[in-house]
């Protein structure tokens, strides 16, 4: 517990430091890639990652960093991603139910890896003046936005900030997955995702995020409107405005090896 608190504090401090290092980038908050720029190298087998690398010098750079011995960032893109079609969504939230009931054995929208509940009333921007005409959601212009994990390309904000390197790319989809063995439930990642797509499960006391159900997403199968699709990965990060400000870390020496 005490360790958790310390780690949480460290995370906050680091986030603050990052904000000092990169003040000018704040305006570009819409562009995730410029936001997150520190790598937390994941403890993955070198061979796995090497397969995704095209340049030997790049690989060498990672191997050379003394602080990163045995740790590699995820460079490879995921193979698949969820695509939501808001015009088709009718707000039944069976996606959230399928996500948690068929994966976790409980109905728990708050930790669902597809999120409709928070946009249902007023849209992603929340409650604003004049909601009854202009904004999204049932009380607004009726458009419901289903939010899904973008399975970010490198650098991956949630993986980057994880002090334990617990967020890994997992076959067969390459989804960015939380390894429960490594996750210590510090919640730093939940604040690092620009779209707030990572939740903390109070029952397991660990963070949880979309893992694409090993290639057969339950939410897609459960949607009575076919409003969610599982497609070949495309970069959705630049198309989706972020939901919140995020923690980020300053680049370290290993970044400079490539950039």
């Amino acid at each position: 517990m005490e360790q958790n608190e310390r780690l949480k504090k460290a995370g906050h401090e680091e986030a603050q430091r990052a904000a000092e290092v990169l003040p000018g980038e704040k305006e570009g908050a819409g562009l995730l890639m410029r936001l997150a720029s520190r790598r937390t190298f994941l403890t993955m087998g070198v061979a796995t990652v090497a397969a995704g690398l095209t340049s030997t010098s790049l690989l060498n750079a990672f191997l050379a960093g003394p602080a990163n011995a045995g740790k590699m960032p995820v460079i490879e893109n995921a193979k698949g991603v969820l695509l939501a079609e808001p015009a088709r969504c009718s707000g039944c939230r069976r996606c959230e139910l399928a996500c948690t009931e068929f994966n976790d054995g409980k109905s728990h929208p708050d930790i669902a890896r597809v999120k409709v509940y928070r946009n249902y009333n007023f849209g992603p921007q929340g409650l604003r003046h004049g909601f009854y005409n202009a904004q999204g959601g049932k009380f607004g212009n009726m458009r419901i936005i289903q939010e899904t994990c973008k399975q970010c390309p490198h650098p991956i904000p949630c993986a980057d900030v994880c002090p334990r390197g617990a967020i890994e790319a997992s076959p067969p989809t390459g989804a960015r997955v939380i390894n429960p063995e490594k996750c210590i439930g510090c919640k730093i990642c939940t604040g690092a995702c620009p779209w707030s797509m990572i939740s903390y499960d109070p029952d397991t006391k660990k963070a949880t995020k979309c893992f694409l159900c090993e290639g057969k997403p339950e939410c897609v199968a459960a949607c009575p409107n076919g409003a969610l699709k599982f497609i070949d990965w495309v970069d959705l990060t630049k198309r989706t405005p972020p939901r919140s400000a995020v923690y980020r870390k300053a680049p370290d020496a290993s970044c400079q090896a490539c950039h």
Binding site: C92, K106, N141, M142, R143, P224
Partner: protein, 697 residues
């Protein structure tokens, strides 16, 4: 210990003292499942005869049950139980709403909320997981439901779900409702909240509902249940011929077809053929806008909506830009009778399903749903129209008041009239607004409605208690009639219609009926009724028990039960054990269909006992279970029980009551439950109390 399905806690609030406490659901209410079961139990134990609907001693019970918040399809319903302000006398009853409020309550860790007492000043109740707080609502009081909801969400977070009353409920207008999610209203009980100075209950839950069954089993069951779903009201065939469909029925709410769109979606979404085997197009089956409002409404349909967890989307979301000229938002959502406001006007200049009607519907929805006015299943319009057309209004209103009402707009069919009409009721303005807001029973007395008001064309079913027909003789002859005699408001029972009007050919219906009721004679050809028989009595009783079961689990009684399904490969057979399968899987408490029906019978009999105690008479057959004359006399020139009419026969109907009471284990002469029946249902203490009051047969 983990509790499955139920959260395990019931929230109790006494607004007089500010006391907030917790009861253990399973210890106290397990034999009553949830929602109406808990509601009737609390009303029986805690609200003695003589307490009025607006007295602080009255209770108002909000709840779902073990299935709410889970992926049980169509499990998002909430029943609100109290004394009904509209019935005369004020007897027990429930209003029902869906949306996401009840699920949110479960996620916050509560199975039900029971409110008693009266706050000294306006308050609202904030339930944020375990944190429950009575909050000052003086700044909300006087505002409509939309604003109250928004302000509470501003405080609790945009994810919060709010059940609130409007100006009508605040003023204890009897015809007031409780609204959630801007299109779900629970009828008749807004004034009870108002009498307690309770503006709203806001709920935010971050917790979970645990499922007892293992994940794989649960998924298999959920997908099995989904595979048997039809459209709204369990229509199992489409309304137009579809390539996959062996049958179709023009009255079906399965309106999807190629070329029919959610026309105002961006980009427009085609509903398509909706093969029932495709579980990823279920949400398009019911394009309800064209069903409720006519073909013109297609272009204004943004999408469909509905309750939490329900794959069949029956709530229409419209965007009607031209409605804005009346000063309301173009965005309007509701379904079925929830659109009643538009029908305050009898004749629109461009026809019954023209543009002005659609605009009037939008205007009416906003007035009714923001002020929180209830319609008594559409009767409020007929109360007004009768009083106006019969000339009664001119007599009972002062000249000044009569002149102040824009009847010219009514005659012109202008939606502007609706704004004036509903505002007067919500604010109890003048004799007109006050009396219409009192509800049909009272306004008919006060204004001296003639016998003609109780004729067929004005829809009244029970003139004493003041409610209209709701799937009565027009839906199943004697079966519908019996069902309509059992409640203290319009019968909210759809168990019979969900089978009776499912769209299948009669031969198939008879085969399916035989499997459930022992004979195909339980069901007649539509509008060609045969004399009463014992199987119809079984059908009627079963329908009522399932309604109570559905309200308590909850499952939507506007969808369930499923005697039929859309699947040819199953011979169109549904599954009447779905309720017990879902209950057993979610709670881990394995109960058979018969065991759950027994609980439902307990709940139903408790409702009956409450009615007997409330009316202070055991003479239910004479005093309560009334069938209006028009059911026997309309139309004049047809024989009873002849083809093409819903005309019952007086003697036959008496036989229907005999058989029905016998089926229920009730005394034939009085229609009151016998001691033996009450004891069989575990209601010995109820029998004992009724005995003491001289109310046992």
């Amino acid at each position: 210990m983990t509790t499955y399905g139920w959260s395990g806690k019931v929230l109790r609030v006494d607004l007089s003292t500010g006391r907030i406490w917790t009861e253990k659901t399973l210890e106290k209410y397990r034999d009553y499942l949830g929602a109406t079961g808990i509601g009737y139990k609390v009303m029986w134990d805690e609200v003695p005869t003589g307490v009025g609907a607006f007295d602080p001693e009255n209770r108002i019970i909000f709840g779902g049950g073990p299935l709410i918040g889970t992926g049980s399809p169509c499990g998002g319903r909430v029943a609100i139980t109290s004394l009904l302000p509209t019935s005369l006398p004020e007897l027990v009853g429930s209003g029902h709403m869906g949306g996401h409020w009840g699920s949110e309550l479960k996620f916050a860790g509560w199975d039900a909320v029971i409110i008693q007492g009266k706050a000294a000043k306006p308050v609202w109740l904030s339930i944020s997981d375990d944190a429950v707080e009575i909050k000052d609502a003086r700044s909300l009081w006087g505002n409509g439901i939309y604003r109250a909801t928004a302000e509470i969400c501003a405080e609790m977070g945009p994810e919060a779900q709010v059940a609130a009353i409007g100006q009508a409920g605040e003023r204890q207008v009897r015809m007031a409702c409780i609204m959630t999610g801007n299109s779900h209203s629970a009828g008749g009980l807004g004034g009870v909240m108002g009498s307690k100075n309770l503006k709203a209950i806001g709920v935010r839950g971050t917790g979970s509902v645990k499922i007892a069954a293992n994940k794989r089993e649960w998924k298999r069951l959920v997908n099995y249940v989904l595979s048997l779903a039809g459209s709204n009201n369990q229509w199992v065939v489409p309304s137009t011929p579809q390539p996959w469909a062996e049958f179709h029925a023009p009255g079906s709410r399965w309106t999807a077809r190629k070329g029919l769109y959610w026309g105002a979606a961006n980009p427009p979404v085609e509903t398509g053929t909706c093969d029932p085997r495709d579980l990823n197009s279920m949400g398009y089956r019911c394009q309800k806008a064209v069903f409720d409002l006519g073909p013109l409404a297609e272009q204004f349909t943004v999408r469909m909506d509905g309750c939490h967890s329900c794959p069949i989307r029956c709530h229409i979301q419209l965007s009607v830009p031209s409605a804005e000229r009346y000063g309301v938002s173009r965005f309007a959502a509701n379904t079925c009778i929830g659109w009643w406001g538009g029908r305050a006007i009898k004749k629109y200049p461009d026809g019954p399903r023209g543009m002005t009607f659609i605009e009037g519907t939008v205007v009416g929805k906003h007035m009714a749903d923001d002020y929180g006015v209830w319609c008594n299943y559409g009767q409020i319009n007929r109360d007004f129209q009768y009083a106006y057309e019969s000339g009664i209004l001119k007599k009972v209103l002062s000249e000044a008041e009569f002149k102040s009402i824009p009847f010219d707009l009514y005659e012109k069919g202008s939606p502007e009239f609706i704004k004036d009409f509903i505002r007067r009721i919500a604010f109890r303005e003048g004799e007109f607004g006050f009396a219409l807001g009192e509800g049909t029973a009272r306004v008919a007395k006060r204004w001296g409605f003639g016998r003609d008001f109780y004729g067929f064309e004005w829809n009244m079913w029970n003139e004493k208690l003041g409610f209209p027909k709701h799937h009565s003789v027009e839906n199943g002859g004697q079966v519908g009639a019996l069902i309509n005699t059992q409640y203290n408001r319009d019968a909210q029972c759809h168990s019979h219609i969900n089978f009776y009007a499912c769209g299948l050919p009669l031969g198939i219906q008879k085969r399916l009926a035989a499997e459930v009721f022992g004979s195909g004679d339980a069901i007649d050809a539509f509008r060609n009724y045969t004399p009463m028989n014992a199987f119809k009595a079984k059908f009627a009783k079963w329908s009522l028990l399932r309604k109570e079961l559905h309200d308590s689990l909850p499952l939507c009684n506007w969808m369930f039960p499923w005697i039929a399904s859309p699947l040819k490969e199953r011979g169109y057979k549904g599954d009447t054990t779905i309720e017990s399968q879902l209950y057993s899987a979610v709670t881990g408490d394995r109960k058979s269909e018969a065991e759950l029906d027994l609980i439902a019978e307990r709940i139903f009999n408790l409702h009956r006992a409450l009615t007997i105690r409330g009316m202070k008479t055991k003479e239910m057959r004479k005093e309560h279970d009334l069938v209006p004359d028009w059911a026997y006399d309309h139309p004049r020139d047809a024989k009873p029980l002849s083809p093409g009419v819903d005309k019952m026969d007086r003697e036959d109907m008496q036989r229907a009551f005999d058989l029905f009471y016998q089926e229920c284990g009730w005394d034939r002469a009085t229609g009151a439950p016998t001691g033996e029946t009450l004891r069989r249902l575990g209601l010995a203490s109820v029998a004992w109390e009724l005995e003491k009051m001289g109310l046992m047969p």
